[in-house]
């Protein structure tokens, strides 16, 4: 089983979009996948998957007021996928989001414990991929996601905010926790990807000794055109966006999770 967090320094880099598409791509390939939403500040997966009014959310599982059975839902059949596509949503209710912000250290300790228990459970059940869609930055919930995962996929744009921020995360979060980081550049403006490509060389130079680069995903207008309720890997599995992400999925599949950090 591979378990990774999709994380970033800033918000809006495309974590949720990429996590959901990667999950669908693996499930289409026949893998059993779990996608857990651990961004409690800006829940979005329910919008993307068109799911409303769940009885129990990840918030409840982490608080131990619901079992993982109550929270997780398999959508694989809905989309005619070969593998399981199991989702755990975070609660989009504004009151709940506010409550989440007021949780103390003890709650977050319990949350990480619950997450680790769930991961072991999913491993025992034979799942192939567990993906955490995390909040940006260094909120407790994001650090918990990083701790519970085997490695981190860092989604960044090609700009200096994200370069500096991602380097800070690598140096001050992933490295101390001995989690390998894999950079995935998203929303790359197409001109940057053609010609002499100096921006790409800069990215390669900046992250040379820091993290492996999984790829560069161009900015496609089709993606926001769907208004956040379309998963390209489902609606246009052979389109350019999904095709690009299939290559990324392949690279992630080749990551050796047994290899220790720094080796």
């Amino acid at each position: 089983m591979k378990c990774f967090a999709v994380h970033s320094y800033k918000g809006g880099t495309g974590k949720t979009t990429l996590a959901a598409n990667l999950a669908v791509i693996y499930a289409r390939m026949g893998h059993d996948v779990v996608l857990l939403e651990l961004d409690f500040q800006a829940p979005s997966l329910h919008t993307l998957f068109g799911v409303r009014g769940r009885d129990a959310y990840m918030n409840d599982y982490l608080s131990e007021s619901a079992t993982w059975d109550d929270v997780l839902v398999d959508l694989g059949d809905n989309y005619d996928l070969d593998g399981l596509l199991v989702l755990g949503f975070s609660n989009p209710d504004v009151d709940e989001i506010r409550k989440q912000l007021a949780k103390d250290r003890k709650w977050h300790m319990q949350a990480i414990s619950q997450l680790l228990v769930l991961k072991e459970r999913l491993r025992a059940e034979g799942f192939d991929y567990v993906i955490f869609d995390s909040a940006p930055g260094v909120h407790y919930s994001s650090v918990n996601a990083v701790v519970a995962s085997d490695f981190t996929v860092v989604v960044a744009k090609i700009d200096n905010f994200d370069f500096d921020g991602s380097i800070a995360l690598i140096d001050q979060l992933y490295n101390p926790l001995e989690r390998r980081a894999f950079m995935l550049f998203n929303k790359v403006v197409p001109p940057l990807l053609t010609g002499s490509r100096p921006a790409i060389s800069t990215a390669e130079e900046v992250f040379k000794d820091k993290a492996e680069i999984l790829g560069f995903v161009p900015c496609y207008c089709d993606v926001p055109l769907a208004m956040g309720s379309e998963i390209q890997a489902l609606s246009q599995p052979d389109g350019p966006f999904a095709t690009r992400l299939q290559q990324v999925a392949q690279k992630i599949a080749e990551i050796d999770v047994a290899a220790k950090h720094g080796t």
């Binding site: 300790m109 407790y140 101390p176 001995e178």
Partner: protein
């Protein structure tokens, strides 16, 4: 009931302390008091101080250069001279070089594990040490790297014996015990007695 064990160096500075009863005075303060009293009794009565009674507690003192061992208990029956000697000898055999040459005192924390062997937790105040801070993911970042896997295991299991930890991490039980005690010393784990064995918890 034993409430504390402190080891002082020749200057009367407390280099190691294990406080079972959190309501006791600061070990540094107690150390200064004991070393002053000890000097006073030696100079005025020509004898080494063995025990003093203070605030309902009995403080047993044993001078074995270069350290002074101090055990705080309720009654004389709680502390045999064999126990005080055993603490002194085990401490000296491990750390005499650090005390003499002045080294990194944090290494002395490993003595917690030795004390737990010498003094069954049932005989200490409470038989329980509560964690001081939650082991959340930010605390995890600050932990020494060699304790991290154990800390994650403890987070998942919530409580562990040294035997459980040794099995899961494929290390010896002695190593597991030593690491678990370090988590207790850092304040992110607690310990309690259960059916005659020590259980570490969050």
């Amino acid at each position: 009931m034993i409430r504390a064990v402190c080891i002082l160096d020749q200057g009367g500075v407390c280099v190691y302390s294990r406080i079972y009863d959190q309501s006791l005075a600061d070990p540094q303060l107690m150390g200064s008091l004991i070393s002053a009293l000890s000097l006073f009794s030696r100079e005025t009565m020509g004898d080494e101080l063995r025990a003093i009674r203070s605030g309902g507690h009995l403080i047993i003192v044993s001078d074995t250069a270069p350290i002074t061992t101090m055990v705080v208990a309720d009654r004389a029956e709680d502390v045999t001279s064999e126990l005080v000697d055993a603490i002194t000898l085990r401490f000296l055999s491990r750390y005499a070089h650090i005390i003499k040459r002045g080294g990194e005192l944090s290494a002395l924390r490993e003595f917690d594990a030795v004390l737990d062997e010498l003094i069954p937790l049932g005989k200490t105040a409470g038989g329980l040490i509560e964690p001081r801070t939650p082991l959340d993911s930010l605390a995890l970042i600050d932990l020494p790297a060699d304790l991290r896997d154990l800390a994650v295991l403890l987070l998942r299991e919530r409580e562990l014996s040294a035997t459980d930890a040794a099995r899961s991490l494929s290390v010896s039980e002695v190593e597991a015990l030593e690491m678990l005690h370090r988590l207790v010393s850092l304040g992110v784990a607690g310990l309690r007695m259960e059916d005659g064995r020590v259980v570490f918890f969050l």
